[in-house]
Amino acid sequence: MRQAASAAGAYRHILRRRAGLLALLLAAILFALLIDFTVGPSGLPWRELWQTFVRPAEADATYRVIVWDIRLPSALMAALVGMALGLAGAEMQTILNNPLASPFTLGVSSAAAFGASLAIVLQLGLPGVPAGWLIAANAFLFALLAAVLLDAVARWGGMNTSGVVLFGIAMVFTFNALVSLVQFTASAEALQNLVFWTMGSLARSSWTTVGVMALAFALALPLAMRQSWKLTALRLGEDRAASFGVDVRRLRVSALARVSLLSALAVAFVGTIGFIGLVAPHIARRLFGEDHRFYLPGSALVGAVILSLASIASKNLMPGVVVPVGIVTALVGIPFFVSVVLRRQLP
């Protein structure tokens, strides 16, 4: 490595480079969004898309529906859910000190799915929650429960990394079995609803769900960024962080609340989309290192790029059909998961 005259100067240079990299990722998202917006089973030409986008009032009603009610919300939702899952995965890997942690791999998403399925099929939920929010509220409740359980096992059970992963997998199986049980009792119509949704699909995004997802992310990211120094310190070890003045318990609780909120909303709106929360943090770590001021937003942006690309792929895999995007991310994510397991000697 080249020896810099002063490490401080070289470090400032590194910071500028990282900021540039974040900007580059942002540009990549915009580009992916644009492509995602332009491809779809209806095969609308560019010119029509653009005309409908800039002058919706003068456009054909069918085009208007395709552009404004289908393409735009689902493209935006892909980026937003990708960001949410990328951020949630990054925080989870730090808090649990576990490279295999993500909402999907450790059962937080499955728990949310179970909560949501209770609402979809049985209309069961917390009293007082308006009907339209039953799915989201249930998903959040169960996601939080799973996250707290995971934290308790990692912390108080004295379990090592592999132990926590196994516990998480046990939760995945349990909640998946419970979802199947709910499916079994469901009516044909509700079943149709549920099956489509458990595959993870962007097709039902609406402006309301896009707005709520954006709001949740806009809330979670600044809160996470405010704790970015503390989260980075936690990477040096819990005792060390505590000795540097970090209130570790408070930090964990607030991070887990954010993880639960983001993964629950993602599940409630688009179903279980796997592996984004696992893959994005690993790529972000390679690109930015673990300074959480860059690692957290980096992981969110990488998540958005991946899910946008997956969304584009899902429209091109089979002619005329949009494959549920969760299937695409799983097919890409599983080899990645295996490679993480093989590359790292987990304790």
């Binding site: 310190a233 060390r240 209130d247 673990e290």
Partner: protein
């Protein structure tokens, strides 16, 4: 040492009848330690399980004591909140950070910025100077997960010192180090301690290192104080027999330095 309480006895770090432990068990059992003064390296000695790490964790606020007090210049450390205490006390645990993809330079910056309390802002060149003082300036831009155990240990020291603590608590800082690094680290610690008037309390297993490098020694046994004073007064054949259960001699070498020589195990330890 047990004279009347006056203003002077409040100076430094004192431990009074401290009881602390894990679960239902007390590890420290009413431990009292005479005041430790600034500018001195104190070796904390004792066999496994005697309560050395427990004492450091309690002083650092990671463990809540069940009884007793620890004061720093008259300030009761056990009553301070998290951030406030971290301004005075830094503790480095024995374990080294595992796979962390952080550059050495930023890991030191993080140590300075982690706490809530209004710590004085760190300027980046100060980190440059500190790393140079510790002889690891050339590692500044290396990643932590690519360093050797000894190098990580020195980075840990930089993380502690950048916080400008008054009290420096180190749990076996030499455990991962070869002979050369051991000497290097102890010499640095002594130098930093003197220059900045630190109260350094360091768990050491090697009694000869303590004899050679420490200004003071505190030996604890089964959660209580066995002896405190100069290393030569504390590390005696009698103490080694009573506390460690070994037959040992403490003899001057050809250069006049004291050395511990172990002959065997005590027939009737304790």
């Amino acid at each position: 040492m047990t004279g009347p309480v006056d203003a002077k006895s409040h100076a430094g770090l004192t431990v009074q009848s401290l009881t602390a432990g894990y679960g239902g068990e007390d590890v420290l059992r009413g431990l009292s330690v005479p005041a430790l003064a600034g500018g001195q390296v104190t070796a904390l000695l004792g066999p496994n399980g005697s309560g050395k790490s427990t004492l450091l964790k309690t002083l650092a606020g990671l463990l809540r004591p069940r009884a007793g007090a620890a004061t720093l210049d008259g300030l009761d450390l056990t009553r301070l909140d998290h951030g406030e205490r971290a301004r005075h006390v830094v503790y480095l645990p024995q374990s080294l950070p595992a796979a962390v993809h952080l550059r050495v330079f930023e890991s030191v910056l993080v140590a300075a910025r982690a706490s809530d309390a209004a710590a004085p802002p760190v300027d980046l060149p100060a980190i440059d100077r500190l790393l140079a003082r510790l002889g690891i300036a050339h590692l500044a831009l290396h990643y932590l997960d690519a360093l050797s155990g000894g190098q990580k240990q020195l980075v840990g020291l930089a993380q502690a010192l950048i916080r400008h603590p008054r009290v420096l608590l180190l749990d076996e800082p030499l455990s991962a180090l070869d002979l050369n690094y051991q000497f290097h680290v102890m010499r640095l610690l002594r130098q930093e301690t003197r220059e900045h008037g630190l109260i350094s309390l360091i768990v050491l297993h090697d009694l000869n290192v303590a004899l050679q490098h420490a200004d003071q020694a505190v030996m604890i046994h089964a959660g209580r104080l066995h002896a405190a004073g100069s290393p030569a007064d504390v590390i005696t054949p009698q103490a080694l027999a009573a506390v460690y259960g070994v037959q040992a001699r403490v003899e001057a070498c050809s250069k006049g330095r004291r050395q511990v020589l172990i002959d065997g195990l005590e027939e009737h330890p304790g």
